[in-house]
């Protein structure tokens, strides 16, 4: 759905908002790149032209779209990265150590690091940068750092983060936009300048940028993992229109681009390589169980059985992606195998549930969306098939947040959740009493206590995965939201570009070569 929306560039922001607010993810390339690297060779050069999207701001704390993390990861690095499956691994830091009760974490920095502007990237710089993310009045990532009480430097190579309560999720959290390290020299001199001219320590440096048009970046030899970066020049373009993207790839305007499922066949026919990369993005129906008719659990359950996810997946993405019953893709640490397919489409059961509800066999329901064609239309037809008196309401993208996330005035909203760096954070957004994707503002005590346990469990602990998956199972059982299907990144590339790393969270380019 992201690509469909973004086709109308109007809505490119919506990909971030409607389809998942702050997609604050970050990732890694270290492990993924090893595999991709095999084909590579050691030469540096070539130009990669990526049809993806330009960031709303090059300053990570001002960026307002989750989508931006992919572009920002080209110029910024964090203390940590995420590996192909979304686990935190070292980046600028060589490692980290929690204290026993999980209220303090100490990161050890790599020695001799530099920012793109030549200034030194030491513990003091990291502390200043993270303190800015946390306390700057204009910071849009501050809300994710509320459990942090202070970030301080110890000597030049050690960063100490003190926490208000136990939280073992910090390394994952800092792998994303939240933890991107910005040169203090740059923001102390001119904080607003970062919006157009980023200064970080990522794999590339921005040399030219035209809003809505293109960004040109060159390889940054000072990047800690620069030996894995073979691309000499990187050009970033806004997401091309679905109807012209393949033409753009064929004509050499891009050599890598994100394409919708509908264009896969055309891309292959044109001799392009297509990779379908799993992502954390999952399509979801936000169900407001505080208002009729979803305040009756029978109606919610009927809804879950009425939805034919496979058919929706086929329509939305031509079958690329997986049917989903939980907020995470298979292979992610929070994915609970045991959930299975609990709400496989069952028209008879949905009908009988409706008949048993207090609203009778034909409750009226309004499906809210920003773009009606496709999934909402099909959903309407599926709901009508079990007896719902369903209609579609199209709202302007600009009002989506206000109506759905703030006023909670919509019954049923077609939405997408873009995932979060930290699994606990994802749970809070989806199911927390204040979570935006919890329009019914329902509190789930059992889930909350399970999450507290997760927070208090070290990521290295053998119990961690089990606890997280338990929380997932609880959420799927108790909460009304209906997960539909995962939305993979579908990347088409010209023959001159080697295979791209298949990262769950952030698209990275370690190991990629281009002619």
């Amino acid at each position: 759905m992201d690509t469909r929306l973004s086709r109308r560039g109007v809505l490119s922001i919506a990909a971030g908002i409607g389809a998942g607010g702050a997609l604050t993810l970050a990732g890694c390339g270290a492990s993924a790149s090893d595999s991709a690297n095999a084909a590579g060779g050691s030469g540096v050069g070539g130009t990669l032209k990526w049809g993806w999207d330009l960031p709303t701001s090059w300053d990570p704390i001002k960026s307002s779209a989750g989508w931006d993390v992919h572009a920002l990861s080209l110029v910024y690095a964090g203390l940590t990265q995420e590996d192909a499956r979304g686990n935190a691994i070292p980046a600028l830091a060589t490692g980290w150590k929690y204290n026993a009760d999980g209220t303090e974490v100490v990161f050890t920095l790599r020695p001799g690091l530099k920012f793109g502007d030549g200034s030194t990237l030491d513990a003091a710089a990291v502390a200043k940068s993270l303190e800015r993310s946390r306390t700057d009045p204009g910071s849009l990532v501050a809300s994710q750092l509320t459990t942090v009480s202070s970030v301080t430097a110890q000597g030049t190579g050690t960063v100490v983060i003190k926490l208000k309560q136990p939280n073992f999720q910090i390394p994952t959290l800092l792998a994303g936009k939240t933890g991107m390290i910005v040169s203090p020299t740059a923001f102390e001199a001119n904080a607003t300048g970062l919006t157009l001219k980023p200064v970080g320590a990522g794999p590339f440096q921005l040399t030219a940028y035209t809003e809505n048009a293109s960004a040109t970046l060159v390889r940054f030899p000072g990047f800690w993992n620069a030996k894995q970066i073979h691309i000499g020049t990187f050009q970033l373009y806004p997401l091309p229109d679905a109807s012209t993207v393949v033409a753009g790839l064929e004509s050499g305007q891009y050599n890598v681009a994100s394409i919708p499922g509908s264009e896969v066949a055309a891309a292959k026919a044109a001799g392009l390589q297509v990779q379908v990369v799993d992502s954390l993005v999952v399509a979801v129906l936000d169900v407001n169980d505080a208002i009729a008719p979803f305040d009756d659990d029978n109606v919610v359950l009927a809804l879950k059985y009425a939805v034919d996810r496979k058919a929706l997946l086929q329509t939305a993405q031509f079958g690329y992606g997986e049917v989903a019953y939980q907020p995470f893709p298979s292979g992610y640490v929070g994915y609970d195998e045991s959930i299975g397919t609990p709400y496989a489409v069952n028209t008879a059961k949905a009908k009988s549930l409706l008949a048993a509800s207090k609203y009778g066999p034909n409750p009226t329901v309004t499906i809210t969306t920003t773009a009606a064609a496709g999934v909402p239309e099909q959903l309407q037809s599926q709901l009508q098939a079990v007896g719902f008196n369903a209609s579609i309401k199209v709202i302007p993208t600009a009002q989506f947040t206000e109506l759905v996330y703030i006023q909670h005035s919509e019954q049923l909203t077609v939405d997408a959740f873009a995932g979060r760096d930290s699994a606990v954070q994802a749970f809070q957004v989806l199911f927390g009493a204040q979570g935006l994707l919890n329009p019914g503002r329902h509190a789930y005590p059992q889930l909350q206590s399970e999450l507290t346990q997760v927070n208090e469990t070290s990521l290295d602990s053998s119990k961690y995965a089990g606890l997280l998956q338990q929380a997932t199972a609880t959420a799927v059982k108790q909460t009304p939201n209906v997960f539909l299907y995962t939305e993979p990144r579908i990347l088409a590339r010209a023959s001159g570009v080697s295979a791209l790393p298949e990262d769950l969270v952030v698209q990275r380019f370690e190991g990629v070569t281009t002619t």
Binding site: L11, G66, S143, T210, A213, A247, S251, Q253, P396, T397
Partner: protein
Amino acid sequence: MSPIVGSLRAIVRLVSVPVTVFLIATFATYALGAAGGANPAATVLGQDATPGQIAQLNHQFGLDKPFLVQYFDWLGHALTGNLGVSYFTSIPVATSISQAFPVDLSLAILALAFAVVLGGGAGILAALRQGGWFDRAVSAVCSGLATVPPFLVGITLIVVFAVFFRLLPSGGYVPFTQNPGQWLRFALLPSLALSAEGAAAIARQLRTSLVGALQENYVLGAAARGLSVRRTLFRHALRNAAGPALTVLGVQIPLLIGGAVVAEKMFALPGVAQLALQAGTERDVPVIQGALLVTIAVVLVSNIVVNAVLLRITPQAARGTRSARRRPMLQATGGAA
């Protein structure tokens, strides 16, 4: 009336219209934006925001003030050259506009050139061969172009030139200042697409008025003086027929700058229309207003230029309309001479 008072009056008359138009237009969009019921802070902050943060950011944007205060705040800043900062990107509006405007301008110039050459040429030939096959072909193509949904023109050009023949890129942009050759490669298709409507309008208008002009006595008079066909056509008939076509051209200019949303979308061009459209969707008021400012300026400048040209080529027409009430006096002077 002393000359100073006279020129002061002229200046006031010249300025009062654009200023009023500017005030009405900006106020109207500001009002619509405010009435739209969007919540920019909530949209900016995304899924993780708390109500407190949203209120704080809205306060920072000044959106908690009464509507009129907001508008006059903006106006005050705009008059001092400060167009503000985008709610969403934090990029100063002036920076965005100064990047986007040259795109529109360079494309618009090329598109206008196409429109004038193609539309003008077709219109003149059609008028000269009135009723012939070329005339009928031109009017068929023009009515066709006038009824094609604009994006079909763009798609067709892309499919033909970018996909089928692979001659030109399907979208994107390189600034003229950076590489004129590349600029032309990227600008060709969108300019053609943009010019289609204008070319059709100019061809239709020019044909009609030229057919009319060719029937005028002064054309016969020119022939009676033994002037050559070319001279009669260009200096006499065309000169008087060009007025309405020029007016059409003047109407096209604002459509090319700020109004070319579909073409900019289709060809991934970073112009003012894209900026305005995106800002419109997000209710990013400072950016909308900035884009509006440019559009209004373009409209006003193109009006002035078109009027100046009209005044030069057909002085009697301008004089005639401006002084309809004074005409008897002019006749009297003429008779006395």
